[in-house]
């Protein structure tokens, strides 16, 4: 009897403990290392690092890199067994699976406290967050969405008014274009064309995905170097014509401070943009293993994720992390956005990049 009572007590204590609290042994070991190095594709890691430093007294060296740059650095450093990052937050499924996961440069680590919390399909490789880029228009003059169907963007009325980040500069943008050429999405694009125009699409390329990319680019699409700049160019007030862009949803957070007019269009057919995961993984040769584990665990908690969760456009893989009050959960976006399929990307990304390079030069 006594044993059972003890068990019940233990279970009760365990239940009261806040989910995600790190294990004391790990904290001690991490403090002994005293330092952790992280390479990250999101700049807000700096804020999380500051909070982590003051909570645990462990020094964080956080570096913000572009996705391709991060892949190059990590593969060099781990392959040469050079001390660099202890863990990384990386993106670009088209490359990281083949270049970083397959050769074992990055190692998956799911904290015990998260194994029951984070949905199983997000655990290997462990997803840190989802990020989305959606069609956003300048709502200074018009308050209702200015397009309903992506094929409208290939029409003369939008010539030279649409902005998109150069897919050469960021892998996830190339991934999005690649996914459009998949059987699933080219079929949807074909259907959307028929619904909108009431006639069959006549192809000049392999399929409807390639066709849309071609017409989209050749309709005076403006390529930018930065999503922030694009958000300013689209959103600044007093422009003669209504403009729109396909860029990171979280940039709408600048609306007030920078006096921009920006509103998303989540119901464009057949997609309103795309969504991609950022992975959180340890490097094979991590020097500060424990501190890395502790920081990873921390980042997956609502507290650790707060630099991201206070705005729209960031979605933790941990369902307990609240989502911004103006935003919707991933389940809302799932049917509306294009997601990455690593296997399809691995096979086709190079072809699509070549295709884009061929059609997009003037």
């Amino acid at each position: 009897m006594r044993k059972v009572a003890l068990f019940a007590l233990l279970a009760a204590v365990l239940a009261i403990l806040p989910a995600g609290a790190a294990d004391q042994a790990l904290i001690d070991a991490a403090k002994k290392e005293g330092k952790v190095v992280v390479y990250s594709i999101t700049s807000r890691i700096a804020n999380a690092a500051k909070a982590f430093e003051s909570k645990y007294g462990i020094k964080v060296e956080a570096y913000n890199l572009k996705d391709g740059e991060l892949i190059e650095k990590v593969s060099r450093e781990v392959a040469g067994n050079i001390a660099g990052a202890d863990f990384v937050i990386c993106q670009d499924s088209g490359r990281v699976f083949g270049q970083l996961f397959a050769p074992g440069y990055l190692v998956n680590y799911v904290p015990d406290s998260m194994k029951q919390v984070i949905p199983a399909q997000y655990q290997n490789p462990l997803i840190f967050q989802f990020i989305n880029k959606v069609f956003i228009y300048n709502n200074e003059k018009v308050q209702t969405p200015v397009i309903r169907n992506v094929w409208e963007l290939t029409e003369p009325k939008w010539k030279g008014l649409v902005q998109f980040k150069d897919p050469k500069q960021e892998g996830v943008n190339a991934n999005f274009l690649t996914m459009l050429t998949s059987p699933e999405w080219s079929a949807k694009l074909e259907k959307a064309y028929e619904e909108y125009y009431g006639k069959k699409l006549v192809l000049t390329t392999k399929n409807a995905g390639y066709e849309w990319i071609k017409r989209f680019f050749q309709n005076g699409l403006i390529l930018g170097n930065s999503d922030t700049t694009i958000s300013e160019n689209v959103g600044i007030k007093g422009q003669p014509k209504t403009t729109l862009g396909l860029f990171v949803y979280s940039k709408t957070r600048y609306e007030a401070t920078k006096n921009l007019a920006l509103a998303p269009m989540p119901d464009v057919k057949p997609f309103a943009g795309f969504m991609y995961p950022a992975f959180i993984m340890m490097t094979k040769n991590a020097k500060n293993k424990n501190a890395a584990k502790l920081f990873i665990e921390y980042l997956l908690t609502p507290e650790g994720f707060s630099p991201w969760s206070k705005d729209v456009g960031s979605y933790s893989s941990n369902p307990n992390v609240p989502i911004d009050k103006d935003d919707f959960p991933v389940s809302y976006w799932e049917p509306r956005l294009v997601f990455e399929d690593p296997a399809y990307l691995f096979e086709n990304r190079a072809d699509v990049e070549e295709f884009v390079n061929t059609i997009s030069a003037k």
């Binding site: 700096a46 570096y63 890199l65 630099p307 061929t358």
Partner: protein, 597 residues
């Protein structure tokens, strides 16, 4: 005399020792990387397993060569068209740099134009700024409605909307690169003109030659080597410039080799990139060959002799004041106005709104706000800015010391043994790094030194590697400066000292270096400033922990955090000018070699 005796005698001369050492070291540091580059065009790289089906990294393949050159329309877009664009832009920017820099150099050194000190100092500014920041300034001024956003300043002030060819593409890229590199022309051409003995001009005047004829038959031939050097430098630099075409070409999708190089080296197909780099090197070698053919053909261009030389200025008379005003205005326009826009833009909160209420010191001294730039603190409170700045400064100083010293010695040895095969080899080797496109050079050093290589431990991630590549890359500046300085110097000066039994070290430190102090010092300055604003060379080699200020700056620019970027850009210029002033006070020399004073 036996062979050994002859060798012993030969090796006793310091210039020969210098040459031998340089041949060995430079072969290792430049020729070996070149071979490694060639090898890289034939193998499968880790990121290419997607495109070269069924291959393993390291396999031999002809895939890259076929794709780049023989794949019809795709090759045209990938290589031929960007190649043509590169040639056009590089030629145009060389022309602009030589005409502008040469004209200003002539006015400052050979005429009695006023405000020489001011012009001379300020004209160098565009070279101190990282090149793409000038491109940003161009966009601030001449942006038309193409990319949306706030209208450019010109439109806001005058209502004139520039046509798209004026705002983006080949024209602005050429102009910006031309302006950025015109200080090259100014320094190199001005350095020769300044020391030119006016007796030559006067002799011609006595013979009743016209002004135009003097300019054409005397001044021009004397500066011809400098013009060719400038052309070679500007063409190669423009060819390997990445950030300017990236900013000004991307909106209209104007592709050059470097934008393709960057995409492929950092993306899925580094093999393509290595081939393009090789092509750029071959083009550079072609120009170098022309240059050499010309220099070899001419007789001599000694301008500093043991004899007294006489410098007199051309009297501009009635034109003096108008020309001065025009030149000052021009210099202010291309060198000061962009700085002012950086200054203003670094204090602006919402873009395009210049009302006082919109000004903020957040980006300089603010703690950072969560809702802007993710809470990035202002640059004066920013740990990473200080760290990167300190890295840049110590790197630039180290590179300048190494490159400058080696360059001066190389110049001495090359000129003293002029005409021998060895001299020619070292001359070419010491210039060769200039023809290696920075980004590709960085990529090769990365693969060479990421693992232990011929007794050298792995250098990746060390500061030493950055110094090494910087010193090699900028050796051409230093060796050119050294060679120019020595070529102008008649050998009789040193011969006199040799006869007197003065040892070599003393001859260098007491005679040669003091006479040509400013020329030699420019061999230290050019690497220093180039290094302060170099990006492409280091971008692949820096680990996040030893990153330099330019990589941080580009990152801010790319994110569109222009206020921080503008503030950092101003800081770079201020620091370089501060260095210049200090060194000027201490030694009397300066970046512009005191051409004006």
């Amino acid at each position: 005399m036996t062979f050994w005796n002859r060798l012993r005698f030969w090796i006793r001369k310091p210039q020969h020792i210098i040459l031998i050492v340089l041949v060995l070291v430079l072969t290792f540091l430049t020729v070996v990387p070149l071979l490694s580059l060639v090898r890289d065009t034939f193998i499968v790289h880790p990121s290419e397993i997607m495109s070269v089906r069924g291959s393993k990294p390291g396999d031999f393949t002809l895939f890259h060569w076929r794709k780049v050159f023989l794949d019809g329309e795709r090759s045209y877009r990938l290589f031929y068209q960007p190649f043509l664009n590169t040639v056009i832009v590089s030629l145009a920017s060389s022309l602009i740099a030589i005409l502008l820099g040469g004209a200003v150099a002539w006015l400052v050194t050979r005429t009695d134009i006023k405000a020489k000190g001011f012009i001379s100092t300020v004209f160098i500014f565009p070279y101190i700024m990282p090149s793409w920041t000038l491109a940003m300034a161009w966009l601030n001024f001449f942006r038309n409605g193409l990319t949306g956003g706030a209208p450019g300043l010109v439109t806001a002030l005058t209502g004139w909307v520039p046509p798209t060819w004026f705002s983006f593409g080949a024209f602005p890229i050429s102009v910006v690169l031309g302006l950025h590199y015109s200080p090259f022309a100014y320094i190199l051409i001005g350095g020769i003109l300044k020391n030119m003995d006016a007796n030559l001009e006067e002799a011609a005047l006595i013979l009743k030659a016209s002004r135009a004829r003097i300019l054409l038959r005397i001044n021009l031939p004397i500066v011809m080597p400098a013009i060719l050097s400038t052309f070679l430098l500007v063409f190669s630099s423009s060819m390997s410039a990445f950030a300017v075409p990236a900013f000004l070409g991307t909106p209209v999708r104007y592709q050059v080799l470097t934008t393709q190089l960057f995409r492929t080296l950092n993306g899925l197909n580094p093999g393509y990139g290595y081939i393009m780099a090789l092509v750029m090197i071959v083009v550079g070698l072609g120009i170098l060959a022309i240059n050499q053919w010309y220099v070899g053909k001419r007789k001599s261009f000694i301008t500093v002799t043991g004899k007294s030389s006489n410098i007199s200025y051309l009297k501009l008379k009635r034109l003096r004041t108008p020309l001065t005003v025009m030149l000052v205005l021009l210099v202010v326009l291309i060198a000061i106005v962009p700085l002012l826009t950086f200054l203003v833009e670094s204090f602006i909160m919402a873009p395009g709104d210049y009302r006082p209420s919109n000004f903020t010191t957040l980006f300089w001294a603010g703690e950072g706000r969560e809702d802007i730039g993710g809470g990035e603190p202002g640059i004066l409170l920013n740990r990473s800015v200080y760290q990167a700045f300190w890295n840049s400064i110590r790197l630039s100083v180290a590179v300048a010391l190494v490159a400058g010293t080696i360059g001066a010695l190389a110049g001495y040895a090359i000129v003293r043994t002029r005409g021998t095969k060895l001299s020619l080899i070292v001359n070419n080797l010491s210039f060769f790094p200039y023809l290696l496109p920075s980004m590709a050079f960085g990529a090769i050093y990365l693969s060479m030194f990421a693992k232990p290589f011929l007794l050298i431990p792995s250098l990746y991630g060390t500061f030493a590697l950055l110094v090494l590549i910087g010193a090699v890359k900028y050796l051409p500046f230093a060796s050119r400066a050294g060679i120019n300085a020595m070529l102008q110097l008649s050998a009789e000066l040193e011969e006199a000292a040799i006869i007197m039994g003065v040892p070599w070290r003393k001859r260098m430190t007491r005679i040669l270096i003091p006479i040509q102090k400013s020329s030699f010092l420019s061999g230290y300055f050019l690497p220093f400033i180039s290094c302060m604003r170099e990006l492409a060379l280091f971008v692949l080699l820096v680990t996040p922990a030893n990153r330099v200020i330019t990589t941080l700056l580009l990152q801010y620019n790319e994110k569109g955090w222009n206020q921080w970027a503008n503030a950092i850009n101003l800081l770079i210029i201020i620091v370089v000018l501060l260095f210049n002033t200090v060194i000027n006070r201490l030694t009397g020399a300066s970046i512009d070699k005191g051409i004006g004073s």
